[in-house]
Symmetry: C2
Subunit: 407 residues, 2 copies
Amino acid sequence: MLIDAYNSKGFNIRPFSSSICFTADKSAIIDPMHFEIRQNDGNARSGLIETTRGTIHTPAFMPVGTQGTVKAMSPDELREIGAEIILCNTYHLYLRPGHNIIDQIGGLHTFINWQQPILTDSGGFQIFSLSALRKIHENGVEFRSHIDGSLHFLGPEKAMEIQCMLGPDIAMTFDECTPYPAEYEYAVKSLELTTRWAKKCKDFLDVRASDFQSSALPSLFGIIQGGMYKDLRKRSLEELVEIGFDGYAAGGLSVGESKEEMYDIIGAVGTQMPADRPRYLMGVGDLQDMLVAVESGFDMFDCVMPTRNARNGTLFTSKGRISIKRTEYKADPAPLDPGCNCYTCRNFSRSYLRHLFLAKEILSMRLNTLHNLHFYLAFFRKMREAIVEQRFASFKKEWDSILVRDI
Amino acid sequence: MLIDAYNSKGFNIRPFSSSICFTADKSAIIDPMHFEIRQNDGNARSGLIETTRGTIHTPAFMPVGTQGTVKAMSPDELREIGAEIILCNTYHLYLRPGHNIIDQIGGLHTFINWQQPILTDSGGFQIFSLSALRKIHENGVEFRSHIDGSLHFLGPEKAMEIQCMLGPDIAMTFDECTPYPAEYEYAVKSLELTTRWAKKCKDFLDVRASDFQSSALPSLFGIIQGGMYKDLRKRSLEELVEIGFDGYAAGGLSVGESKEEMYDIIGAVGTQMPADRPRYLMGVGDLQDMLVAVESGFDMFDCVMPTRNARNGTLFTSKGRISIKRTEYKADPAPLDPGCNCYTCRNFSRSYLRHLFLAKEILSMRLNTLHNLHFYLAFFRKMREAIVEQRFASFKKEWDSILVRDI
């Protein structure tokens, strides 16, 4: 039975969203997150993350709801296509509408009407990639809002406080996303700072946990940095494991490096990460890249690729990528992907989708996004099946040839 | 049983959309449109228009799907909120994607996946309001596309041919929308031209009907012009009745005239129109204006007001209009309209709707449009009930005071 607990220490009452579980006598508290591997296939693994708000089957893809909405989608549609967890951005929600507003409404789940698991990032990545001005201090980062240029400060404690008020199921440590390229010396200093910040995030949550004597607070994942240096990645991971987190994530990838460099790090880091904890590869969402990462033992992914590509008219199908604006689809009565059973493919022709795209209609963004996310989530379902049936290698080989095709 | 018939004379086969009805022996053809008044209350009336694609309860509001989509809505959502007919714009669909493309896909119903009734306008209004260059000839109008400046010609025959290829349930005659203000002499010439064009539209359809020996073609409504001159409006109506149409529409209103002038024409024209045919007031969609028009005997309406206002953040509620961006809604956990049972009001707070609007999220346009259209369609349901229960006057009085409120 779910009841509320965030009713003191500056956090408002959240009548509808809470992650505390009480047993019948309302005393024993259940672990908010349980991870279990059901099947290994080489280094690839399939399992599940159980949270108080629902089960996440891994490998899992998390649609991105930057500003508290997965662009163009309703929460009902996300559920219908099988999304089990979404990611929301702390940086964006902190700036607008503000974490205090969301807290007043009853937390992020209530605010956006998504009662299944939510992972929030810590804001680090956005500050380093979106903010005009940023000054790094030992205690955090000073930056200017991309919306109105106003000055803000975010550090490990503040990032945790904001995330606690948003109330996700999984929170991330505040890290410095090491830029690419980075000199070795810079990468060392950056990872050391990231470790110190990770420790502060953990401490903040530990203090809060004892405040509340409960597990109402989110699970916390530590973020590995270290640039493109394998020894630094290893060191970053070891330092985080020393602190101890509920899961581990590789950050600072897909930031401009070559595929070779990325795959090199993914391969090195993936299998080194603790096997009994979820392994999350942040921001890498190219389907081929994710196949490589699953092959190296990663379990969780997020990326704006399916949603952003959808709005740009690039659509994924079982035969390859389609650019819907192409003239050849002008009078094509066929569905986008005859093998697909999503709402878009069941109801509309390529001809209509092309028309909506060229006419810049909102329905174009809706139908395209629905299809691409459905494709991604179905791809992950098939991938999990392949792992369970011990045929991930052939699954990967088959899709590697499809995914490079433009049709 | 619905079967296909558009299989000769330059029209392609339409496997999924047709409006011919055959009886068991496949010979007797049913009238494509049947209009019946069930109840009068003063001059207000409630009834139904039966078409081969479904029943339209009157007074009826038709959401506008300019480019073959009611902006931000899916066809499923339109059905769910009770839309029984939508309007599509011939001018827009002729320019993009082109009526020939839509015909190749199987007609407009199949193209946009809306199997219920569709009314297409004739393109006249758009040419006179949107086109940069326009030259009026006896046979039609030369104009430039608002999309690419290309030169086009539309006249009564062409407008009918395009509409027949789109395949709506109700088509409109090609008219000159008399501008406001217009000198009496201009208004006379304009209405005379509109009458000649209306006759040509009717003749075109009659020839087609005998070509096909069927009633596969759309019903045709004639459009009354005459500017703000009641005698000319009367003359226009009489000339159209002389030709004979399935329904009659008042055009050239809500084009810049005062409310007084508009109400004066609505009052004069409404009750003069044949009582046994649907009476359609084109493009007037302010709720108060429509109450006046229903009071004067009008049955059908269309307007972009609910959808356009939704995208601009102006929302209709049972207590008055709300501008969702206002600061007072920043942390307001209440639904937009506590008395409303639409998806938006059942699931989201004013606070979230305000956030989505300020963040310019697509979901903002979706949720706002869904609510406003739901409000309009529910308003019409209540209005029909009031007429059936002989209490339209009190219904109008009650709403007149609500509709002027900004809350």
